[in-house]
């Protein structure tokens, strides 16, 4: 990389959750500028919650992010419950963990299937993949839908989950529904393995992220 010139100017990075601009200027091997900009408009959540009721906070903070709203909601509930000395049952704790798993499953599938796979297959988005690789795209959709059905069952909705409330849940799934969900997830394993296999086969296309030299402390 010595003596090289690099000019990177990306306005609104695409296919990421969240917003960012990247500016990098390297002249003759010397880094002149290396910036990660957040062009997003600040919303001031920390100020918004001041003065609101204890049983509204989780609803407000969920809106920090639509993709990880289950995570935000649970973090907020943890804080509220700690502050007010509210304990939750072991059953509710397990259900909350299931909710997090559902969110992770959905988010990872979105990341792999919608955001990364196009890069690995050399196209700009999942949309042309629908025509060129219909089987893979249908598999991703199928899995993504199952992940959403899981969070719909546990928390009511993936984005801004209504069932998660201080003290536990406003509604819980029945034993029958949970058994059906378990079977559905088990039935997904072949599809999950297929996606993992596909990504692994394309792993060579991932850029080499190793550094030339380690940074000094």
């Amino acid at each position: 990389m010595k003596d090289s010139n690099v000019n990177i100017e990306v306005n609104h990075v695409t296919r990421v959750e969240g917003h960012g601009n990247i500016y990098v200027n390297v002249k003759k091997g010397i880094v002149e500028k290396c910036e990660w900009n957040v062009p997003e408009a600040p919303r001031f959540f920390e100020a918004m919650v001041v003065g609101r009721q204890w049983n509204e906070l989780h609803h407000i903070t969920s809106r920090i992010c639509g993709i990880c709203s289950i995570g935000h909601t649970l973090a907020s509930l943890k804080a509220t419950e700690a502050a007010m000395g509210i304990s939750i049952s072991e059953q509710d704790l397990k259900l909350r963990k299931l909710a997090l798993h559902a969110e992770n499953l959905q988010s990872h599938l979105l990341h792999l299937g919608f955001l990364v796979l196009p890069d690995l297959l050399g196209v700009g988005s999942v949309i042309p993949l629908a025509s060129s690789n219909p089987q893979e795209v249908k598999t991703v959709f199928r899995l993504h839908r199952t992940a959403n059905e899981m969070s719909n069952l546990i928390c009511g909705r993936t984005t801004h989950p209504q069932r998660l409330i201080p003290g536990g849940f406003s509604k819980i799934p029945s034993l029958r529904e949970l058994s059906a969900l378990k079977k559905k997830l088990q039935d997904c394993i072949p599809d999950l393995q297929a996606v993992a296999k596909l990504i692994k086969s394309l792993a060579g296309k991932l850029p080499d992220f190793t550094r030339e030299q380690s940074s000094s402390a």
Binding site: H12, T14, R15, V16, E17, G18, E40, A41, P42, R43, F44, F45, E46, A47, M48, V50, G51, R52, Q53, E56, H59, I60, R63, I64, C65, G66, I67, S69, L110, F114, L115, P118, G124, S125, V126, I127, A130, V137, K138, F141, R142, H144, R145, N148, G156, R157, T158, T159, H160, Q162, R163, I165, F169, S170, K171
Partner: protein, 245 residues
Amino acid sequence: MKPRVAFFDFAGCEGDQLQVANLEEELLTLLGQVEVVSFREVMKEHSDNYDIAFIEGSCTRIQDEDRLKQIRKNAKIVVAIGSCATIGGINSLKNSRDSLEVRRTVYGENAKLFDTYAARPIDAVIPVDAYVHGCPIDKDEFLHVVKSLLLGKKPDIPNYPVCVECKKNENVCAFERGQNCVGPVTRAGCNSCCVNQGTICWGCRGLVDNPNENSHKEVLIKYGLTVDDAISKFKLYFGWQERKR
């Protein structure tokens, strides 16, 4: 010729755009009817040549107005999706407080670096042709609006309160369960999804055209809220709509 559509976002959580991705297999059917030419979250390509623009998020800075106006110029039809874009959303919670104080609470001495003004729906800046309400949007309602635009008809968005849907769904009223709810003044169209899940209506779809706000505030007080609490409930999502009255 399939209409060309583009997605944009401003001050929001991207949840409404995620709902579009959550259409799953129906997204493929949708792609049979429209051509997506710009959708930052999902695709690399971008084009300024589009017929329909879907916009998520509120306008919270003066510099965002130019971007909105440019989108309005490029598009034949502008659709606001999600509460932040249609009514100001949760963002409008900060409107009733002093702007500098809000910025200081979050950023301390760096407050002045973070520009903001009263969070507002996008129709406060540009004319909007259609609305998909909700926080987040309902997938079926989104598709209904898209289908209406494709068929050349005005989307059918209710002008009656959520109570209509709650009653049809045979829910036990939130007030009967010892809770309080703003469903009676909130625009229906969500199929009372939150009450169906055992909670309350928070008002995310905004007020109906002619809400009887005074009557409902009295109802809230009758069921145990203080006057301040009743007024505060209306600030959660109705901050911008109430300011206009």
